[in-house]
């Protein structure tokens, strides 16, 4: 498998990279099969529902990818993928990813799906620093750092009073 990158993102080596053949297949899909689909005008809510049913299990709801098991690669992040690449990957199913032909996800649904993915490529984080969207594991690490920091505060509070 040649390490040819497709799309603007730089993917680390363990993540699946599209081979030259896959690239050709994807661009074949892009030009022939999905070129006419308006990829950014779908129903965003419906696209989200499809995403959570089919895609979130590997790519996470924050579209940052997920760990797979035996294939030798992990599901890549979709954060910086173009709509054409996403649509092509859905139809083609590169590597360990299953393919979703038009009989499963028709063109209208594909359009909604891509619209949704594009909308959450930078998910809203009004709460502050998003910890790279890893979830409760990293939140727990932060909580422990804070707890130890608070223990440090108590040490200072008690010791600082003496001499």
């Amino acid at each position: 498998m040649t390490a040819v990158e497709v799309g603007p993102s730089h993917m680390p080596s363990f993540v699946y990279v599209l081979s030259v053949d896959d690239m050709r297949a994807v661009s074949h899909y892009v030009t022939d099969k999905i070129a006419d689909i308006p990829l950014q005008e779908g129903d965003i809510g419906h696209g989200g529902e499809i995403f959570r049913m089919y895609c979130a299990s590997c790519h996470r709801t924050a579209v940052r990818g997920g760990a797979l098991a035996y294939d030798g690669s992990n599901a890549p992040s979709l954060a910086r993928k173009s709509p054409e690449l996403i649509a092509g990957a859905v139809r083609w199913g590169p590597g360990p990813m299953p393919s979703f032909p038009a009989s499963v996800i028709d063109d209208k649904q594909l359009s909604s799906l891509v619209t949704y993915i594009r909308a959450v490529q930078n998910p809203a984080s009004p709460g502050g620093f998003a910890l790279n969207w890893y979830g409760p594991v990293v939140e727990g690490c932060v909580a422990w750092i804070v707890v130890l920091g608070l223990v440090g505060f108590t040490i200072w509070i008690e010791k600082g009073g003496k001499g």
Binding site: I44, S57, Y134, P136, V137, E139, V147
Partner: protein, 464 residues
């Protein structure tokens, strides 16, 4: 003005005598005695922020179509509970801040309880007469964990919904009574609309009330029995050394509370936690990887991931499903052991006397080693609970990580136990040697290293 208020109350309550002993209550001057307060103040903040959130949260699992301010979820069907949470986050002024302070405070609360419990454990403060308080404290820990689980589950998002489904399966796997109590408490077969409202009721009524009651008992016992002391000059079983509640301890304690609130407010403002709008509504047909519970349940999650697919079946029927062992038997066994620990300690040290002076960690090699080994085990399990996040972040295969951890989960605690034990024995031996030299020098003058015929100075009771 304060004097006027005080006199008014005193004329009606005659509280002077009590107040006098209260403000003069002696607190030992060591930072490790303030760790429980971190937990206490986190709880206060949790209640305060929780009251705010309860004004806006709707604990209903009735389905509704979202039409609010968060674009990517418009038109999506979700529980009313999730809609109200998203409303708090995006529309209520300071709602997101209070919600994040609440969730961060919950995470920090349990961490503080564990740090406090570790101090009690490693200094053997649980000995008579404080076994009672240890039992109360363990119950507080369990209630805090339960309330944390209930709290993030009632948002109705995909992540916590998956957690609820797993909790349902764990309850189902309890032998004999599993299906009965699951149907009873959860309200039926999954997915159950009845579960969320009753979890809400538990989360804001029953469990906080129990926690408050137990905290009052916990502090009351501490007040009545008075704190312990580290070994040192003037510190005996019959005296207590420290500084008075007023003014020094009051100022420090209040200052600590404000600092804790400052840290939690900074977290709430600057670091995002539990972004439910990204997870989306719970749909049992959907799932996401990285579906971990909050960190205080990560050890059970890790146990569930590492435990191999072993179940007990016979004559065509399944008796003990595979989740029973890591998720029911192991935690229950651990909690029972911890509950009984002070009594076991009394049994194995043949020492049921009253103790008000602490045992330093190296004076009790078995205790300390056991504690270190247990902490090592829990850390490995927590790591295992997050192994798919580690695999993703480092681009490893999660299966390889799991296989390595299946070995580490045995090796690391045993090594930690052994190392801690050896270090403690060595430290204790060194300390005893030094003490003997000091005694000899005090009798016979400095520089004399002859050992006395019999060492009549008994300084500590050595632990087995």
């Amino acid at each position: 003005m304060i004097g006027f208020l005080a006199r008014t109350l005193d004329n009606r309550l005659r509280a002077s005598k009590f107040l006098r002993s209260a403000i003069n209550h002696v607190f030992p001057d060591h930072w490790s005695f303030m760790l429980g307060e971190i937990a206490l103040y986190c709880f206060v903040i949790l209640v305060a922020t929780g009251i705010f959130l309860a004004m806006f949260y709707d604990g209903s699992s009735a389905k509704v179509i979202y039409h609010g301010s968060y674009g990517p979820l418009r038109g999506v069907e979700m529980d009313k509970a999730l809609e109200s949470v998203i409303h708090i986050c995006f529309d209520v002024p300071a709602g997101l801040l209070i919600r994040q302070i609440h969730h961060w405070a919950a995470n920090v609360f349990i961490g503080a309880i564990l740090v406090h419990q570790a101090r009690i454990f490693f200094t053997a403060a649980f000995r008579k007469p404080r076994e009672l308080n240890w039992v109360v404290g363990m119950t507080l820990l369990i209630l805090a964990i339960v309330n944390g689980y209930l709290g993030y589950s009632i948002c109705g998002d995909l992540l916590s919904g998956a957690g609820m489904r797993i909790g349902y399966s764990i309850m189902l796997s309890i032998p004999v009574i599993g299906p009965w109590i699951t149907f009873l408490f959860m309200g039926g077969t999954v997915p159950v609309d009845a579960t969320l409202p009753r979890m809400y009721a538990l989360h804001i009524f029953l469990v906080p009330a129990l926690i408050t009651l137990l905290i009052v008992i916990h502090l009351g016992i501490v007040w009545r029995q008075m704190h312990t002391n580290y070994p040192g000059p003037h510190r005996t079983n019959k005296t207590i050394v420290g500084s008075r509640l007023w003014p020094s301890y009051t100022l420090k304690s209040l200052g600590l509370f404000l600092l804790i609130f400052a840290v939690l407010a900074a977290l709430g403002g600057l670091v995002q936690i539990d972004p439910v709008w990204v997870y989306g509504p719970y749909n049992p047909v959907a799932i996401l990887p990285g579906a971990q519970p909050d960190w205080y349940l990560g050890w059970i999650e890790g146990a569930m991931r590492l435990f191999p697919g072993v179940h007990i079946a016979s004559s065509g029927k399944l008796w003990f499903p595979e989740v029973f062992f890591p998720a029911v038997l192991f935690p229950m066994g651990l909690f029972i052991l911890l509950y009984l620990y002070p009594f076991l300690d009394e049994l194995f040290t043949f020492d049921a006397r009253e103790h008000h002076v602490l045992r330093l960690p190296w004076e009790q090699p078995f205790n300390t080693a056991f504690g270190c080994g247990l902490i090592a085990l829990l850390v490995v399990l927590e790591f295992a609970g997050g192994d798919d996040v580690v695999a993703l972040a480092g681009n490893y295969s999660v299966v390889e990580i799991r296989d390595i951890l299946r070995i580490l989960v045995f090796v690391v605690p045993v090594i930690t136990w052994a190392v801690a034990y050896v270090l403690c024995r060595r430290a204790r031996r060194r300390h005893l040697e030094r003490q003997k030299i000091e005694i000899v020098e005090s009798i016979a003058g400095p520089g004399c290293s002859a050992r006395p015929a019999d060492s009549s100075a008994e300084v500590m009771e050595p632990q087995a």
